[in-house]
Symmetry: C2
Subunit: 80 residues, 2 copies
């Protein structure tokens, strides 16, 4: 079972990396860009085949290591 | 219109950051982790409201700046 995890900065947290991308896109001639936010995307392959157990495991992984819960949110989906 | 872009390393490209996460998860007591791959997740808010035009714009953004096409793949979805 594979978990696809998206980790994003919470609203209101400054995102200088996203700002840099926005400026770079502007320099390349792209217009009408209102905001850019950069996050992380992590794929985890698990041996676990039970969906409930896998969901619980990935939830704990995110809380304990992958996401900084003070400034980041996470969301994930499981695919078989 | 908002674009949610996932950028991942191509198969076969070494991912030391993913490996580090895998080892850290192992140290924390998580078992049965077969592979971890880290990618990037970028959200772009566009003023563009036409879906076809937005799709074309985001495609060009990915090819020209966001993804390194030699070692990375990208995929995105548009939400209104």
């Amino acid at each position: 079972m594979k978990a696809r995890i998206k980790i994003t900065l919470k609203n209101g947290v400054l995102d200088p990396q996203g700002k840099a991308i926005q400026n770079a896109l502007g320099s390349l001639g792209f217009t009408g860009i209102e905001e850019v936010r950069q996050g992380k995307y992590i794929e985890v392959d698990l041996a676990e085949s039970d969906e409930t157990a896998a969901r619980d495991t990935v939830d704990r992984m995110c809380k304990n290591l992958l996401a900084n819960m003070v400034i980041e949110n996470y969301a994930f989906e499981l695919v078989t």
